[in-house]
Symmetry: C2
Subunit: 333 residues, 2 copies
DNA sequence: TCCCAAATCTAAATCGTTATAGATCGCTAC
DNA sequence: GTAGCGATCTATAACGATTTAGATTTGGGA
């Protein structure tokens, strides 16, 4: 197989080969109405024969379209491969489209608006995908105001107006509470994500509603969030359980939270499945190998990624259609 | 804060503001020798005042440089956030450069050459970063032949010729074997990555050399690799240990391998730390929470990512300098 | 026979950047 | 006095694509 050092074919190559003008070739490939069927056939044949692929720079310069979708990610302390799954599934969903995925990270201490503003100001993407969505997420407000295409992994208070994919965290909270109560737990605490995040509120809501139907008691663990580093979670939970010997059930919103809540609980002398049950959701099936006693539902991130990719494309290409939205239920394991 | 819907400044904006010609502005910003100092000052002042950022499409079209570095990733079955760390650390290292990170995935069944060929043929990046490097990796051969900039996470047989970052897997194999022997283990087996991968060979080499100094016995577990899904690893290890009741030590090359090797061993009735020890390396500090008895060294992926990012840039910008190379030692925990 | 419309194609301009060659200026040197 | 030179800047073209307006051909109707 030769290394084919000949220059890449352009519209001009096709034009010369076919004896047509460059714009004609362009319009033929774009299936414009004013080009004859025979011409289109011929152009397409040549194009595929010489392996023509449009030059992204030329396209981008002329049209302003980057054909890029940017995933804005907060670098976190997660143990399990939640993020990797999201990245791969989006990139995979994009592979047979004209879009490329670029990853724009920001760090926990930083202003989440910064990467978003940068991308809009420099025009470096056609759409964004965001996660860690807050109820009144300023990024979403900004993007809505600018009418810039995006899709969120999570909902905001403006949920009707934008594409999103969300896990049904109300259902998760409800199921978690119900299951813990069913196993005889009566004093249940939740390790929540930061309360500004929408899914924290949803989980709380679901759990509270479920608990209200029972004799049990529910609370959010104060002064602590599942966003902290593993070690911090561990210490918080340990200290909390040492103070609160009455707590017999914990709800954790992620694998990482569940892992370090378990370790913290063990540090406080509890035995999982006996003194205390932990109910968690996980993106990667694994927690029951970690501690068999942990109760688990599954959140399918692959699914989320491919939905978000398609939703973002739709937001770009059909901005006037209703935003793609989906909510997926917890899968009981 | 206004939404600044005015069009982005270009070289032409600066040219009009300064009364200079567009190419002069361009050359001034690029610090060309034939532009007067005063002019450069003036141009730079205007540029920074109006927040000029070069248009990537214009640059790319004109120069052929994409200012993109592409990370070619195999979507795998990992449990821990190895990949996420790699992605974030590369993107982070790139954030104050002109380069963007784009992620190009491929899947285990697919031809690994495909994404690489695509990127070169369409000119969609200035450099590649590859992982899962084989001893005679065809992608590396191809890129060397084409003289295309890249950096690898792992070494090949052509290691002198290209930038790489590698974990010292020979040392890992040695340390793992030594530590297992020191804890009294005498029949040690390694769950290897696919044997075509360079680091599998390195780990084997280190372990074999260390074992040769002792009375112990060593082998690679046949017909199985750490690349398989967790469930497959679990079953393989369980079956292996049921057949081979003499085995009392296992070396695992990753968190995922260690997790499912543990579970498999437990399925075969072994008690970790008593009947059997497991020695593993991990990118995310976590295995000792999983099973306290697992012995562990740490592989710092963050470090790898930022090194690879810089190495890739250097490969682009100083192709004639010696390739950046580094090997990092296992960190004993 | 002539003209207009429809169908199909071409020419020119444009997006933002840089490379190449050429222009202008003041000064020195002969 | 002027050729020559260095220093500094400008004009033009080009990268590959699309858009707009205009050109050409063909055929139908009067």
């Amino acid at each position: 197989m030769p290394d084919s050092d000949k220059p890449r074919p352009t519209l001009r190559t096709i034009a010369e080969l076919s004896g047509l003008a460059v714009p004609t070739v362009s319009r033929a490939l774009n299936d414009a109405p004013d080009i004859g069927v025979a011409t289109k056939e011929k152009v397409r044949a040549i194009a595929s024969q010489i392996g023509y692929v449009p030059n992204r720079a030329g396209l981008r310069l002329r049209t302003g379209k980057t054909n890029v979708i940017s995933l804005v990610l907060c670098s976190d302390h997660e143990v399990t491969d939640h993020t990797g799954q999201l990245v791969s599934s989006i990139a995979d969903a994009l592979r047979d489209t004209r879009y490329h995925l670029i990853v724009t990270p920001y760090f926990p201490g930083e202003d989440p608006m910064k990467p978003v503003r940068y991308i809009l100001e420099t025009g470096s993407a056609d759409a964004l995908i965001l996660n860690r969505i807050e109820v009144e997420d300023p990024r979403v407000a900004y993007l809505l105001r600018r009418q810039f295409p995006f899709a969120t992994y999570g909902r905001t208070k403006w949920r009707e107006q934008h594409p999103y994919f969300d896990f049904d965290n109300v259902a998760f909270g409800r199921i978690a509470a119900q299951e813990l109560v069913r196993s005889g737990r009566r004093r249940i605490a939740m390790l929540t994500p930061p309360l500004t995040q929408n899914y924290a509120q949803d989980m709380l809501k679901g759990a509270r509603e479920a608990i209200a139907q029972t004799e049990a008691h529910f609370e959010a663990i104060p002064g602590s969030s599942s966003d902290e580093s593993g070690e911090d979670i561990k210490e918080h939970i340990r200290d909390f359980l040492l103070r609160r010997t009455d707590i017999d059930g914990i709800i954790a919103p992620s694998s990482t939270a569940a892992i370090f809540a378990s370790v913290g609980a063990e540090g406080a002398g509890r035995v999982l499945g006996q003194d205390l049950d932990i109910f968690a959701k996980e993106a990667v099936p694994f927690l029951q190998h970690f501690r068999h006693a942990i109760k688990v539902v599954r959140e399918d991130v692959q699914n989320a990624g491919s939905f978000l990719a398609k939703a973002a494309i739709r937001a770009i290409e059909a901005p006037n259609k209703a935003p793609s939205q989906d909510i997926i239920s917890p899968k009981q394991v």
